[in-house]
């Protein structure tokens, strides 16, 4: 009963915290709400008229939604890069960062689920997928695996920080024996969510562009580059706009993670390019389309070369200690890397899988404004959720938010 009371008080307190703030905070939240409203409006049009309002067709049947979903799974998985050193290796450097990382994972997972639902033709019959009342085609369909791992990861990433914050809220220490097993599981789970998501594509013999053994490992490498890169940027913002203390040491350590992952990612990219272009087969056509265009169709060329340029530049910057240790340069490199991987692991990966089609037909895909509206709406939803979670967590960690009910 007491716990319930504390929980109620926590909810009330956090409601107060998230509805109060500086002018900039209100502008930020207002801006996000506005974008979300635009997204909802666009989605209502899509619900009404069907997916025909998107740029997707029978030839390219997955587009911007699934691209963003794929990328965000990687961002969510990256929270593990902070969890492991903090909880498992007891490296206290990361302690402040880890709650932020887990909050980011929660926001990213919610966005993932939102993108999947936005992509569904029949969201009203989604209960068909719920085990027990629907038919859950497990283990045959990789999509069911993905449902399990994503929701499991969401549960882990909500429950661990919640437990810690709930204890801190009452002014008590969180017990290792309670959250450590969960943290350990989530380390493996994070690798799992991204590998399973890669298998979603990798397992399709119909699409040679995806049907390659490197897809899963490359997903992991790019995820562990883009995710922590985003965490660095978020920490930088939090450091500058709140009293929450994050040491340079922490940021530099995460930068090290980003660097190694970006380097591995680049090596894998070279390996992939070598395979596709040294001895091109019929199956290299998608890669040709992506990098050089096929039969005059060239929509993705500017995108992929931008992505490659951004990736290489960022990786080079990160590789030099002098540059990486300069925080301004580091932030710049993180922005480049994040955008580069968003393009590469987003529509640079999904769209070419469908081009050329099973019989060589080249039909290009361009997202419509409505699709883009829904997409940025979901991104705004993620940012909104993350702001709320981070603000509550920071206030608890700073000691501003404490349970007073017992007095």
């Amino acid at each position: 009963m007491r716990r319930l009371k504390v929980f109620k008080s926590l909810v009330v307190d956090s409601m107060r915290v998230i509805t109060h703030g500086s002018k900039n905070y209100h502008i930020w939240m207002g801006f996000l709400s506005f974008i979300m409203l635009i997204g909802m409006y666009c989605y209502s049009i899509q619900l009404d008229q069907g997916l025909s309002v998107t740029g997707m067709t029978d030839r390219v049947s997955w587009g911007l939604y699934i691209s963003n979903f794929t990328f965000l799974v990687g961002v969510a998985a990256a929270a593990v890069m902070l969890v492991m050193p903090t909880y498992v290796l007891k490296d206290i450097d990361f302690k402040q960062a880890v709650l932020i990382g887990e909050g980011l994972a929660v926001a990213a997972l919610i966005m993932c689920l939102a993108f999947v639902i936005a992509d569904m033709g029949g969201p009203s019959v989604l209960w068909h997928m719920i085990p027990g009342i629907g038919v859950f085609n497990f283990p045959s369909s990789m999509l069911t695996w993905d449902v399990i791992v994503l929701n499991g990861y969401l549960f882990l990433n909500i429950s661990i920080p919640f437990y810690i914050l709930f204890r801190h809220y009452q002014g008590r220490e969180a017990k290792h024996s309670v959250y450590l097993p969960g943290a350990l599981i989530s380390v493996f789970w994070a690798v799992g969510i991204h590998l399973v998501t890669a298998f979603l594509y990798q397992g399709l013999q119909a699409r040679p562009f995806w049907n390659n053994a490197l897809l899963g490992p490359r997903f992991l490498a790019s995820a562990f580059a883009a995710g922590p890169a985003l965490i660095i940027l978020v920490l930088a913002i939090i450091r500058n706009s709140t009293a929450f203390k994050i040491e340079d040491k922490t940021i530099k350590k995460i930068a090290m993670v980003v660097t190694v992952a970006a380097q591995v990612n680049l090596i894998m990219l070279i390996s992939e390019l070598f395979k596709e272009f040294y001895a091109p087969t019929h199956h290299s056509e998608s890669a040709y389309y992506l990098f050089f265009g096929l039969h005059g169709k060239s929509a993705l060329i500017p995108w992929i070369w931008t992505a490659i340029t951004l990736n290489v530049t960022a990786t080079v910057i990160l590789t030099f200690h002098k540059l990486r240790n300069n925080l301004r340069v580091l932030y710049f490199a993180c922005v480049l890397l994040f955008i580069g991987i968003w393009i590469e692991k987003g529509f640079g990966l999904i769209v070419p899988g469908f081009i050329p089609g099973p019989y060589g037909k080249i039909a290009e895909y361009t997202p419509t404004l409505i699709e883009i509206g829904v997409t940025i709406g979901i991104w705004a939803l993620g940012a909104f959720l993350f702001t709320i979670l981070a603000k509550t967590a920071i206030n608890i960690e700073l000691g501003k938010l404490r349970y007073k009910g017992d007095n």
Partner: protein, 360 residues
């Protein structure tokens, strides 16, 4: 007898196949049986793993049924108590909509449930339009396995098959959905799909070209079925790969998994002019679809299960299309497979299509 989930057709070889094994035991536990080559036509009925799946589903289904029943009681109570003014027809319509929204997967339904949903759909159409349709829920027959053969030498690209298919199967006229694609290929280039045109608008047969049609190949090891997260698509016992339009959630994973471009999606609400609707329907076939669900060629299940040829076969003016029962040794399709040099597309993918090509 083997780990293979599907069986390979060994037309005309089944006698040899059974004597292949050195142990002389045709079906026992000898490990030296060649799993690929040994599965003859007669063994089609062996459902390995399939039955277990059904076993598991039984309690799910009963749980589901209980849930539906309680929901229906609630709905009935709500609709009778709230709608004083609504007429009986409106109430009935609401009741049907409700039950349709919360019905189960067709694949797992009992015969009674199948009949019930078909009756509801027929009644619903009657209430909405005042017209009657005929809808069947006929199951696969014993000893039938449908197969298809396409004569590349004969096809002239008239596309009568495409037109007949669209009419027969009530496809969306707005988006010009077509299950069949006719690829116009250049002579001397072999089967080069990259050079082919599947969207031509000129007089046929065009000089220096030949024609090849593709559609759903009704694979015996269909990748689309494995990937569906809700088992809304499956392989029937007579080999047809079908979709339960009401169970499909519209994720389009099957579309990505199909190597043959065999699947179509309803990107918006399909529209068929009332006077053009084919009223002879099958639940798994040409009944009217809604937006956001997959559909595909079913070898015209409404026709093929009542002994007719699919519409494309009947419409073909050149006789390039041959359809029949692979298990019937006297069928034309068997004659083609035994006497012509047949081949299938992308055989290396292990999908085992039941759609063969041949030349005169």
């Amino acid at each position: 007898m083997s780990d293979k989930k599907w069986f390979s057709l060994n037309i005309g070889k089944e006698h040899k196949a059974s004597s292949k094994c050195g142990c002389g035991n045709a079906s026992g536990s000898c490990n030296s049986h060649d799993s690929g080559g040994n599965a003859g036509i007669g063994e089609e009925r062996v459902k390995d793993g399939f039955e277990q799946v059904f076993e598991v589903k039984m309690d799910r289904r009963s749980a589901f049924r209980k849930l539906t029943a309680s929901l229906m009681i609630g709905a009935g109570a709500v609709s009778t108590s709230c709608s004083m003014v609504a007429g009986d027809e409106a109430k009935e319509k609401a009741q049907i909509d409700w039950e349709e929204q919360f019905k189960g997967n067709y694949k797992l339904m009992t015969d009674d449930e199948k009949k019930a949903t078909v009756d509801r759909l027929v009644r619903s159409y009657q209430l909405r339009t005042g017209k009657n349709i005929k809808m069947s829920s006929k199951d696969a027959q014993e000893g039938v396995l449908f197969g298809y053969a396409f004569n590349i030498s004969k096809c002239q690209g008239y596309m009568d098959c495409v037109t007949a298919c669209v009419k027969e199967n009530n496809q969306d006229r707005n988006s010009q959905m077509e299950y069949i694609r006719i690829h116009e290929m250049k002579d001397g280039k072999g089967l080069d799909f990259g050079e082919a045109d599947d969207n031509y608008y000129h007089e046929v047969p065009a000089e220096g070209h030949f024609y090849l049609g593709t559609q759903c190949f009704h694979c015996d090891n269909p990748p689309c079925v494995d990937v569906c997260p809700v088992q809304a698509t499956w392989r029937e016992d007579d080999g047809l790969v079908v979709v339960d339009y009401d169970w499909c959630v519209g994720c389009r994973y099957c579309m990505a998994a199909c190597p043959y471009d065999g699947r179509r999606f309803n990107w918006s609400t399909p529209e068929v002019p009332e006077e053009e609707i084919n009223k002879n329907q099958h639940y798994l076939g040409n009944r009217l679809r809604k937006k956001g669900v997959m559909e595909k060629c079913t070898f015209c299940v409404q026709r093929s299960r009542s002994g007719q040829n699919p519409a494309c076969v009947e419409a073909c003016p050149t006789g390039a299309r041959i359809f029949g029962n692979l298990l019937d040794p006297n069928s034309t399709i068997r004659w083609v497979l035994e006497n012509k040099k047949v081949f299938r597309l992308k055989e290396d993918l292990g999908t085992e299509p039941k759609f063969w090509y041949f030349m005169d």
